[in-house]
Symmetry: C2
DNA sequence: TGCACATATGTGCTTTTGCACATATAGTTC
DNA sequence: GAACTATATGTGCAAAAGCACATATGTGCA
């Protein structure tokens, strides 16, 4: 139940509307915690009830009015209290790795295509992260935290990209044939 | 909804009871997909209804009787069909990284303790994985898949462990002071 | 006999999540 | 002026996940 805290932490940066938050969750903090806009609006309503955030309606010219939420002192206290409890290790759920685990029951060409797509995604993010990280020399605690976050993201993407490449190589037909048919392997010697 | 498929894939190895599966999810396949025993028993009931697994009651001496589930041909077909659909990228949810993102609102000594614990966990798993991986020379497709899975697990744990160490260093008080108090920094020059 | 423990299988209830759909305002484009 | 796009905020509903609790068998032990 840390969507709550991900929102509070985001509002700690600067006041935002639900719409802003949704975009924010698609970009920066979304690397650490994913959320969709219905989730965010519902959570904001609860946080307001508890007094952890305050809301202010704002008229805009040329656009629909929006409700901007700010972190209250109670909200700040809540973040602090939460940060003192041990963090819950993230529970892994990866479709792709389950397939790899059951490799002999799986459509290997389809898995290979999947792997190719994954590799491209990891490489993209890898480049994006390292471009951002290159320009940061942390001047305060917040920036230090963000930089460290970027750093683990970068390492993660880099390893995954390299692993995808290796695994694509290992799953080439010519390598699989010899595994599947031990008779051929012996005959070939 | 791939708990279903994680179970099917596990039963593809060898028939198992719900109890066995629960243990299995605590160990090997649990690195790729976590599940608790109520989840598993409920899912098994559904899979049996759909004919994807078959159940057989077994009397044991000295222990309560158990129900052993096997993968059916329909189950095998289901795995194959599932494996042809694109895999859903795993949605990240990490408490700890959210805290790091909001570093200036957080209790830093508590975070440091957390970080220390994490690092130890990553190091343990790192050693465990590399010990297992060292002894495997894949002789068939299944073993190749398992080895690749182990390999990404190992890389993941290694990077996290190294990052934790670096981050612990970066969060030492003597480094933070200069960030928090720009006046001191200037005065010190 | 009573108690703790490991095996084995579940139910009940709440929270969280995700997806589809609904709605309203205002500018832009054809 | 009709259609389309971006902004902005929601509702409804169903699936999935998590946790506490319930239950039964058999072993070992004090």
């Amino acid at each position: 139940m840390a969507l709550k805290h991900a929102i509070l932490v985001s509002l700690g940066d600067t006041p935002m509307s639900g719409y802003d938050l949704a975009k924010h969750f698609d970009e920066s903090i979304g690397f650490f915690w994913r959320a969709t806009h219905p989730q965010i609006y519902r959570e904001l309503a609860k946080l307001k009830d508890k007094g952890l955030v305050s809301a202010e309606e704002m008229q805009q010219q040329g656009r629909p009015k929006r409700t901007v939420y700010s972190l209250t002192d109670a909200g700040r206290q809540e973040i602090l209290a939460w940060s003192r409890q041990p963090s819950t290790p993230d529970s892994v759920k990866d479709d792709f790795l389950v397939r790899l685990y059951g490799l002999d029951h799986v459509d290997i060409p389809a898995l290979r295509e999947d792997l190719q797509l994954r590799m491209e995604g990891h490489r993209d993010r890898c480049e994006r992260f390292s471009a951002i990280a290159a320009g940061i020399e942390p001047r305060n605690i917040t920036e230090l935290g963000r930089l460290r976050g970027l750093e683990i993201g970068l390492r993660y993407e880099r390893e995954w990209a390299a692993w995808c490449e290796e695994t694509l190589e290992a799953l080439k037909d010519e390598h699989l044939v010899s595994l599947e048919d031990p008779v051929m392997k012996i005959a070939g010697q």
